[in-house]
């Protein structure tokens, strides 16, 4: 792994880094900020995740929908006693704004950063906006590494004070096209300076295992910690939607059928016939199956050499994280000393 450079024996010393370097199977969980200025939403979600993950990953205007900023939400999460992984996309900010916000994020106590290109703005709620894309995710990784390890801004200007030290994350899309190039693009991200990798949602374990085989051939799993992305399915409709409409996500038919089977006791009833109670019972049955599938996926992914942990994306369903982490035998989360053993 990348040589630690800070005084405490770690590159950065965030809880996430400590857990990963101690070879524990790491767990991060996603937290989606609200479409409002309400700090209580963040606090409630943080309470659901506290103790069940090593760090909380906070989205940055995900799917190009305006939400409370990742950094501001991260500050609240830290106040609540959790560790944050903040996200930074290249869609909304140029290199000036990105670097300025990262200085501020570090000053506010954030230590982990996920570098993303960002979803295109036409998918979100301001489709007429202008995008930035001054830099891309690879260049962002390089810039953050340059700030941390060389104490320089992108321009080459040196810092006059403390530099922001982030444990640098990047995304990987193992199933997006061109599939054969994906391990190499991951290699580029790691060469650029990524310390940990978070993958797109995995539902097709054999396909992911093939990707990981290539990753191991390239020795990438020894140069960065790879967290497999997982997420509980909520309904069969959601499963089908992800299969057909979200690029880079493979959902095997067997999983969709399993979700459908969970709703069988109520099958054949029309919208008018089904009572409110029955609807709720069916929704609960779907959720239970979705959580069970997620637990099994984690158990299977854990067997793949080179998978260092999981990132749980329970979108607008943070309640699911607790049963998933417990069910997968990943609770309680490890406590790792702040000083590394030399």
């Amino acid at each position: 792994m990348t040589t630690p450079t800070s005084g405490n024996g770690y590159l950065v010393g965030s809880n996430l880094e400590r857990v990963l370097r101690a070879n524990h199977f790491a767990v991060t969980a996603e937290l989606g900020p609200p479409q409002s200025a309400d700090p209580q939403v963040i606090k409630k979600k943080a309470a659901l995740l506290k103790g069940y993950c090593d760090a909380v990953n906070i989205t940055d205007n995900q799917t190009a929908i305006v939400r409370m900023s990742s950094i501001a939400s991260g500050a609240i999460v830290i106040q609540e006693g959790l560790e944050a992984v903040i996200q930074m996309t290249c869609r909304d900010r140029n290199r000036l704004a990105i670097q300025a916000d990262l200085l501020g994020a570090y000053a506010l106590g954030m230590r982990n950063l996920l570098c993303l290109t960002g979803d295109h703005q036409t998918f979100g709620n301001h489709p007429n906006s202008r995008n930035v894309f001054d830099i891309d995710s690879l260049q962002l990784i390089q810039i953050v590494k340059g700030m941390r390890d060389e104490g320089v801004f992108q321009s080459g200007d040196a810092f006059s004070g403390p530099e922001p030290r982030f444990f640098i994350g990047a995304a990987a899309a193992p199933f997006a096209d061109p599939v054969e190039f994906r391990p190499y693009r991951l290699a580029k991200k790691i060469n650029a300076g990524a310390n940990f990798i978070q993958t797109q949602l995995v539902y097709d374990v054999p396909a992911f295992a093939r990707f990981m085989e290539k990753v191991r051939q390239l020795d990438l799993h020894k140069q960065a910690f790879i967290l497999a992305g997982v997420g509980p399915l909520k309904t069969p409709t959601m499963a089908r939607y992800m299969k057909t409409s979200v690029p880079g996500i493979l959902v095997p038919d067997a999983l969709i059928e399993r979700m459908e089977a969970a709703g069988k006791p109520w099958a054949g009833k029309s919208k008018e016939e089904i009572t409110k109670e029955e609807k709720k019972a069916r929704a609960d049955a779907y959720k239970e199956t979705g959580i069970q599938i997620c637990i099994e996926l984690i158990q299977q992914l854990r067997q793949i050499e080179g998978v260092a942990g999981v990132h749980i994306m329970a979108i607008e369903w943070e309640e699911a994280v607790k049963p998933i982490v417990e069910g997968a035998g990943l609770y309680p989360r490890p406590m790792v000393a702040e000083k590394a053993v030399a």
């Binding site: 290249c90 869609r91 290199r95 290109t117 960002g118 979803d119 295109h120 036409t122 998918f123 995008n131 894309f133 001054d134 830099i135 891309d136 995710s137 690879l138 260049q139 390089q142 810039i143 992108q154 995304a171 899309a173 997006a176 096209d177 061109p178 190039f181 190499y184 693009r185 290699a187 580029k188 060469n191 650029a192 797109q200 690029p247 880079g248």
Partner: protein
């Protein structure tokens, strides 16, 4: 070529409002080739406006003329008389043409009849696609002759992003993923190693971000002065 698209008739009516004498000016270069603002389109636009004005019960005059290139003073000199007689000039040139008319005829009210769309080419009969974003610092030598600045929805220099599926861009399934095209071309030519290099942040100063651009060729200027 510069590719443009005609504005709807209602917008043309609104833009030329108040002018008793409307002159439609076509352009004989790019917009002729993309069938948006040549002599034929200028004549059709003039006649459509005449009919529209007639239906509205007014007797406004509409005439048309087409010059070889609206973006050069010498061609505009040729229509100086007609421009002088018009209350409003409806230019069917690209944005450059409209501005050239405004600059050359300071007394004349000129409005655009086209939306200037992009720099591109016809890919098949009746279809034009963008190819160049005039970024001022050409990188086609790094990408196998396919431009990600103009053709990738996110202008990525180190693509493809996770939104590439089946060769298409997730932003629009009609748009080929530029990075899939680049990948295919470089693999086909055995040059995949080019893609393994990380391209550094781009110098956008050469693009519009550095302010309005201008090229001064001293060699040509001096030659002119010596005449």
């Amino acid at each position: 070529m510069i590719v443009a698209d005609q504005k709807p008739l209602n917008e043309l009516k609104s833009l030329t409002r108040g002018g008793e004498n409307v002159l439609v000016v076509g352009c004989g270069t790019c917009v002729t080739v993309c069938f948006a603002g040549g002599a034929r389109e200028a004549a059709i636009t003039a006649s459509s406006l005449r009919m529209a004005f007639k239906l509205d019960g007014n007797s406004r005059q509409v005439s048309d003329v087409t010059v070889q290139r609206q973006c050069e003073w010498e061609y505009l000199d040729q229509i100086a008389e007609q421009v002088k007689e018009a209350d409003v000039v409806l230019s069917l040139g690209c944005g450059v043409g409209v501005q050239a008319i405004a600059e050359h005829f300071p007394e004349t009210w000129v409005v655009p009849g086209l939306n200037t769309s992009f720099m591109g080419m016809p890919t098949e009969q009746g279809v034009w696609a963008e190819r160049c974003a005039a970024c001022g610092d050409c990188i086609l030598g790094l990408t196998g002759g396919i431009c990600p600045i103009a053709r990738c929805s996110k202008s990525l220099l180190n693509g493809p992003c996770g939104g590439s599926e089946g060769g298409h861009c997730e932003v629009n399934p009609e748009t080929p993923c530029a990075w899939q095209l680049i990948y295919d071309r470089l693999t086909g030519m055995g040059k995949l190693d080019v893609l393994m290099e990380i391209q550094p942040p781009k110098n956008w100063r050469a693009a519009r971000d550095g302010g309005p651009r201008k090229i001064v060729r001293e060699d040509l200027r001096l030659a002119k002065e010596e005449e």
